[in-house]
Amino acid sequence: MNASKLLTHLSVWAGLWLAPLVWAANMQFGQILPYADCRSQLHASAITSFVGAALTIASSLVSWLTPAKVIADSEEHRANADFGGAVSALSACLFTFALLMQGIAAMVLTGCER
């Protein structure tokens, strides 16, 4: 598989690999950042969650838009790429929802709760 084909593949499936990755990273930040939030009232946990949500939205858009640019060698491959892109984009929306929920929750908390 050459580099451009690999990039296209990764783009079509971005919503299914990038979005969960961002969400998992945010879960880890959610363990670490409350200490900083408590000390400085930065709301760093909330900011991280919202940045993560922006990234997942971007991955969703990439997955949605890429199949249209794929030069498919058959109608069958075109349909498969369209379907994969749609599943991927919609899956990213779920992780966006989770990240937004986590961001909103982090807005309410001070980080000092134990």
Binding site: N80, G84, A86, L90, A105, E113
Partner: protein, 637 residues
Amino acid sequence: MNRPVAAPDTRDIEIERKRLTDALAETWKTPSGIWGALATVDHKIIGRRYIVTAFVFLGLGGVLAALMRIQLAQPEARLLGPDRYNQIFTMHGANMMFLFAVPVMEAVAVYLVPLMVGTRNIAFPRLNAFSYWIYLAGGTLLWTAFALDMGPDVGWFAYVPLSGPQYGAGKRADIWAQMITFTEISALAVAVELVVTIFKQRTPGMTLDRIPVFVWAMLVTSFLVIMAMPAIVLASTSLILDRLVGTHFFNPAEGGDVLLWQHLFWFFGHPEVYIIFLPAAGMVSTMIEPFARRPAFGYLGLVMALIATGILAFGLWVHHMFVAGLPRLGDSFFTASSMAIAIPAGIQVFCWLATLWDGRLVFKTPLLFIIGFIVTFVIGGLTGVMVASVPFDTQVHDTYFVVAHFHYVLIGGAVFPLLAAIHYWFPKLTGRMLNEALGQWSFWLIFVGFNATFFPMHILGLEGMPRRVYTYQPDLPWHGLNLFISLSAVILIAGFLLFFINAFRSARVGEVARDNPWDAPTLEWATTSPPPSYNFPMIPVVGSLHPLWDDRDSLAVANGLRTDRRELVVTTLAAAEPQAREASPRNSIWPLWAAIATTIMLIWSMFSPWAVVWGSVPVAVALMGWFWPKGTPEDES
């Protein structure tokens, strides 16, 4: 110089049909007799065994339910004492969840998925045989213990400290915990087999957008099993260690945490609901097409709803713990996520309604059960949204309202579709049709009996009747409704009895089925009813989501597979393009020996931790025998 002698060409190219099927039948056969039956790795035989065993457990669980209803029909009844009642409601829940609901869904998939994706056997067929024996051993352990008055009495969720060493005397809680180990090993094995079968053994041309919805449902379910079940394996193993070795995972006095149990249990327990529901939803989406005489509305929506439910299922578990004293914000978070899961469920319901609305309906028994499912599941879903609200849940927690809710979701959401599926796929399983008149009678009895039994439980719950009480005083206002519920249960039981009678009778003397009696569009109907040992004489190639509707006259086939050894086509993950020919293992008795060795080790380990050390020796020997080359053509790959 010695030159290698060319082996005769044993591929399936240009062989006349009769010679081809004879050769395949010889290669893929299960020998007759006891030994052949014990050693078989045919997914259809194992799937049928799984289904029959699961329905036996359903019948046994139903008997326990009937006993509870007789006991509760009047106040201060003396049929059952409190200790036996505790065992019975625990056995009923554990049996229905771990020995019936999850295994039966996987069992249907074990039988159908390889046929629906157009392959000749499931991936890892020996593991499949092993999983059945382990499942049977777990069920036998639980029911033998119950017969010996050693049945678990700690609820199907076995909360600590009740199930811990401080309060759970004897071996009852150990029986529960070890039964979990058996069923989880079995479920995980099947999940792995299904994922590999669906990803790598789909027939050429079955791209992602041509996978039947039931197969998608089983793919998502299998991932749920793989991700959720380790939590309960960890929990039950920790519980056994607390009880046997004296670790203190759940003992607050020594730094343990009782709430840790609830978190671990429900992190598995809530996805478990969807492990049961998603296959049922997939069955409905697949079955609805031939009875509406049109493709299911919104294929992408249906698939996405399955995936969304699978992902969201892991973010809801705390709604089972709303009264456990967790932070209020945490409760609110899980209220929101619990309500959110109604969205994918709603999408599916609207897709099914749209399919029916625009279809030319054929009112056969499977469609009746599908409509019954939609009605019942929507009611159960609505009460689910109600109990997702913390103030309401706090009021009805541990009352009969919750009993009513989850029976609506589980029986409505899983058993109704399952009964539809048995009626629908019975001809493929047995080669005979179920009796239609008896089928319709059983539907109406089950539908009316179910609603009359479980709907009044909502009211009982609102009147304050708690769950898991073996009796109640006559001055409490619950007597009339309890009597009505118990009488209604008779109608429900009559419906199930009629279904069982119909299945027994039809399997022996029912009308002989054609290959595709419902004119259905999916691949399992492209072969005979029941299918031969090799499933398909030639591997079908599909060009659409509904191959039997769109290529009605002639289905394209792939060739080039050898006939003298068990061979499958391996395809690429997304585009399902042929990649390789792969051998599929032959029959073997070693999975049975491995299961017996594992069973001895697991049961022994309830009594001594050294069982893990010494018991692993026969397991290792059995595994060596399992994987030892047998000199068959399959060893070549």
